[in-house]
Amino acid sequence: MVQIDSRQPILEVENLRVVFASGRGRKRIQVNAVDGVSFEIYQGETFGLVGESGCGKTTLGRTIVRLYSPTSGTIRFRGRDVSGPMTKELRQYITDNMAMIFQDPVESLNPRMTVQEIIEEGLKVRGIKDPEVRQEMVFDILSKVGLTREHASRFPHEFSGGQRQRIGIARALIVKPSFVIADEPVSALDVSVQAQIINLMNDLKSTLGLTIMFIAHDLSVVKYFSDRVGVMYYGKLVELADSGELYRNPLHPYTRSLLSAIPQPNPLTERHRETISYDPATAHDYSAEKPSLREVCPGHFVYCSESEFERYFDRQQTRASMA
């Protein structure tokens, strides 16, 4: 297991905003997809990001690898600002260090390319000209993701969903990135195959020393896979804590509502489960006080106003004294 070094952030995101706009003049519509998000990801950890569709979690991931450009705010990778204007050199730096695994293993692989061609594309871009070297590297990564060298000459349609996702992982890892963003990597897979892919990602993480940002909506999987979890709601990071702490002691009403909605495979409790609903209009009064992300106890951040902070802090204290 790679040691998580909490003093050494590999990625620092500060006050990041991504705004999509359409139309002009009076017809202008502006969507704050990511709205002032700040967090750090430490060397060697798995950082989970959860939220419902449209909350901005995918936009956030794509902005970090600069598929989108930030409207404002900074992203630093190993101390270097990667949020500035895109240059050839910056693109090279980002692709050398970060890779992405996508959700849909069917859509994200070119059906006209063989597995060999799909995986080695990243090597070609990096100027590895000798085809034999490339081939060896492809064989090597295929065996790491649980496929064989015979698979290299086949086309994506010859593979099952789980195997395709393995190809997607191989393509991401062939360039030896240190930081991987996995955007819903298992949600398109069958239940019995999900566990295989999660185990594989865990193995690769420790053998290759990866840091992973894991974006998902399945909270049980996120809880299992992540060291720390951030919860997003409408472009804002509303809560951030160690995964155990977050699930034991959720403070923000949205997190509580989200956790209460997960169906558990237990018919005895599940039939009587009460779900908590969350309505931001009635849950908070931000007319007088401005909310911000505050640390309620070490490592546990909640987006709240001053008076909410005091309430959460008291609840936290009572919990701690009872334990």
Partner: protein, 348 residues
């Protein structure tokens, strides 16, 4: 097993598809029973044949499909023998259907209201005005606020959860007795899913519905099911009450499936199932799950297991239940989880 009055009985149903690469045996001898007022869940992965089974019940199989054998008995009628005209009187009126994707099951060019009244006017028992009133009432019943205004809107003006409510309203418009839900919440967010599941349960109580619920999410099964049927490779491999399946799973596939899903307490390595589901172009002989089962015996590969009786409500098709089979241990993760469930402390 004979609790309550059976409303729909499927007996030894087999369905195949003719494709360019050969014959795909999607459903291979499926039998089950839906009793009045109960919810049964059919659980299985993609390709297990669960959706084909319900499409057969609804009579909406594509032309490439052939019903090889079996009967579907509904109120003394064999649905597999009906003509298209006779089916039109069953579909929607007796048996309603909710699909997975609420966007593609609505017509984007037609106002929501007309899509509901369309269903109401089929029977020609209502005037347009009455249909409009009934549709507005239905919209209210499925929890849509301001139904009169919403009546005049188009599907794109509705969120995913609201669209699924509209689809439910359409399915219920002709007051069916049986409701088939094919993964109705898979495309929805968890908080929305929770609301839709509660709505379905509420409507079931109010309208005395009998429900066939198809899903691959075991959490949803636990929430909805009175009884559960587990499908694998076109066959039902185990069935019983929800408690039977979750607390005493017997078939190796049911056990492996339950063990592979992480819950809030899961730590350590996930108990993944090796391999992939079989290709139904070449259906497996014997127990379909045998190639992925580390405890598989010789006979599992050779001969198909019969349904063994475990209790009055609980049956499973696995040779491991044969009196002379060796004892097969429950996976550790699962044994631990079941212990926690029984203590009542599981999952908060």
């Amino acid at each position: 097993m004979k609790t309550g009055e059976s409303i729909l009985t499927v007996d030894n149903l087999s369905v195949s598809f003719r494709t360019y690469s050969g014959i795909v045996k999607a459903v291979r001898g499926v039998s089950f029973e839906l009793n009045k007022g109960e919810t049964i869940c059919i659980v299985g992965e993609s390709g297990s044949g669960k959706s084909v089974t319900v499409k057969t019940i609804m009579g909406i199989l594509p032309p490439s499909a052939v019903i090889e054998s079996g009967t579907i008995n509904y109120k003394g009628m064999d649905l597999t023998k009906l003509t298209e005209e006779e089916y039109a009187r069953i579909r929607g009126k007796e048996i309603g259907l909710i699909f997975q994707d609420p966007l593609s099951s609505l017509n984007p060019l037609m106002k929501i209201g007309r899509q509901i009244t369309e269903a109401l006017l089929i029977d020609k028992e209502m005037s347009k005005r009455e249909a409009r009133e009934a549709a507005i009432e239905l919209l209210g019943a499925v929890g849509i606020r301001d139904p009169e205004q919403r009546f005049e809107q188009y599907p794109f003006q509705f969120s995913g959860g609201m669209r699924q409510r509209v689809v439910i309203a359409i399915a219920l418009a002709r007051n069916p007795e049986v409701l088939i839900c094919d993964e109705p919440t898979t495309a929805l967010d968890v908080t929305v899913q929770a609301r839709i599941l509660n709505l379905i349960n509420e409507l079931k109580q109010k309208r005395q519905l009998s429900i066939i619920f198809i899903t691959h999410d075991l959490g949803v099964v636990a929430h909805m099911a009175d009884r559960v049927y587990v499908m694998y490779a076109g066959k039902i491999v185990e069935y019983g009450t929800a408690e039977d399946i979750f607390l005493e799973p017997a078939h190796p596939y049911a056990r492996a499936l339950l063990a592979s899903v992480p819950d809030m307490e899961t730590e350590g390595r996930l108990a993944s199932i090796p391999g992939a589901p079989p290709n139904m172009l070449h259906p497996p002989t014997g127990d379909g799950f045998a190639p992925r089962n580390k405890y598989a015996m010789q006979i599992d590969f050779e001969e198909e297991p019969p349904m063994f009786r475990i209790s009055d409500t609980h049956y499973a098709a696995t040779w491991s239940l044969h009196p002379s089979a060796p004892e097969i241990p429950m996976p550790d993760v699962l044994r631990e989880r079941i212990r926690r469930m029984k203590e009542g402390g599981a999952n908060r």
